[in-house]
């Protein structure tokens, strides 16, 4: 069967499985929006400034995409490997590409769902909308930012897959948490990097989260792009992608001892 047919079949099955557990969909969809409500809205200085508001929304949207990819898919893979149905699926005549691509597509679809409420909340509860209505920024930035957020999630999807293929599910939860918060904080997704010390800032510039955050802020809020962001993001994507493929190839399901 063609790869496209198989990717479609695997994606459909995975999307259906996700949708049938509505609580996990709802929580991952609302997570960035709740973060906006709790951490950004109380800061008058941010919400009254259209550009600062856009930057905050851009950071939180990326935060949501990243958590969705890392948590749902890293841990999901680890759980799947111990599951006899997944072992069975591996005996079907499909290689590693259809299930992995389906995972990426499903992750992006649900991450996309999480972007909509955080955008809407940002537009209506802060002054972010003014940046567009006054003509300071053009409207194309909104759809472009959505694409950037999703594309910037790829290295984190790969990181999630890498963790999932190397660890059992309980270990994967712990490792993901240990990796997630330093990456999110160090990349300036919780506090803007302008507040970082210069030492932390130079370290931050090497992180995939920082590169993704800078790119998203550039596209969404029209800020200048640091020259290292795109090479840094590409390098992380390639390295983590290669490691994810390697981990998938060596995987033979979970070994019980």
């Amino acid at each position: 069967m063609s790869t496209a047919t198989l990717v479609r079949a695997h994606t459909k099955a995975q999307v259906l499985e996700q949708l049938r557990i509505p609580i996990s969909v709802i929580s991952s969809t609302l997570f960035p929006t709740l973060a906006l409500v709790f951490f950004v809205l109380p800061q008058q200085a941010v919400t009254s400034n259209p550009i600062a508001s856009l930057i905050a929304v851009a950071q939180l949207a990326l935060f949501g995409v990243m958590s969705s990819f890392l948590f749902n898919y890293g841990i999901g893979v680890a759980e799947d490997r111990a599951n006899p149905w997944s072992s069975y699926v591996r005996t079907l005549p499909a290689g590693a590409v259809p299930p992995t691509a389906a995972r990426a597509l499903t992750a992006m679809l649900f991450a996309f769902f999480s972007l909509i409420p955080v955008m809407l909340a940002g537009m209506f509860t802060t002054s972010a909308l003014e940046a567009f209505t006054t003509g300071a920024l053009s409207w194309w930035r909104v759809p472009a930012a959505m694409l950037v957020w999703l594309a910037c999630g790829l290295p984190f999807l790969f990181l999630g897959l890498l963790i999932g293929y190397l660890c059992t599910s309980k270990v994967a939860i712990a490792v993901t948490q240990v990796v997630f918060f330093p990456l999110a904080f160090g990349g300036g997704l919780m506090l803007p990097p302008e507040l970082f010390s210069s030492g932390l800032n130079s370290l931050s510039l090497f992180l995939p989260t920082r590169a993704a955050r800078d790119l998203a802020v550039t596209v969404f809020a029209g800020q200048p792009l640091s020259p290292s962001a795109i090479p840094c993001l590409l390098a992380w994507t390639l390295v983590l992608g290669a490691l994810a493929v390697w981990a998938n190839r060596r995987d033979q399901g979970r070994r019980f001892r």
Partner: protein, 323 residues
Amino acid sequence: MTSTPGSAIRPASPAGTSDVLAAARNVTKSYAGRNALNGVSLDLRAGEALGLLGPNGAGKSTLLNLLCGIRTPDAGTVELFGRNPREPSARRHLGTTPQATSVPPTLRVRETVDFVASHYEHPVPRARLLEDFGLTHIADKQCGGLSGGQQRRLLVALALVGRPRLVILDEPTTGLDVEARETLWGHLARYRRDGGTLLVTSHYLEEIQALSGRVTVLNNGKVVADGTVDQIRSRVSVSRVSFHTDLPPSLFESLPESAGVSAGGDNLVTVLSRDPDTTVRRLVRDNIPFSGLEVHTASLEEAFLALTHLSAGPEPTAGEETP
């Protein structure tokens, strides 16, 4: 090796592939230092039905996992349709079921069938498959809500949806009631009549007998017997000769007709003998002190255990289900 005449029903296999659909050559696989398979070789030809029999931990599932491409051998080679089973294209004509009864709990029956069918060139139409397996009325149920028997039926239906040339089933009827089991056997018998090739594992001789013409017995990761059901049966037709004696039980292991010796409390020794008359004659002729002599025909299960114990060497039979 047997090559059943049934293989003539199928058209000749495409050029480049031989008559052997699945093969293992000198395969070794260990987990955490423990040998699950130790130099196993096996050929499965088109049209054959092979039963893989052995106690828990004998290496049956490991061998199937290697043949299905889930795992790779440490040494030796496995082939499926002449290729490495890790390659997806080698699995185009393979149908399997998961070992445990495991279904995707939130998918509906028809969605699950469609998902698996999408992997094959000419799948059986969904409506016909569901009808054949008596699943039509539950097509819209989520798989997690099916009864154990319904789940098993679904899994075997999935193994057959791609019109496979080879079906590999790992303990297909464990936990089923008699009626459900016989229904499943009926489906597999029909698949066989249509020229399909079958590899099935079981703990139960009865199941192997119903489904297959040829039997391979695995024990401790090794092939200990390979032949037709009748050949294996004659090999394992043994009797239990038990008596009380002060002599050490190990003494009776060297009897030529002995297929295993076990010791019980109160100096009881039980010899599994292929020729109980000779054993009794020997006891008398050699003036062996014994009392309370009993001779029983061993059941097929016991005999089969004797066969697997025999290959395990002279170890005592601690922890096994011997009488």
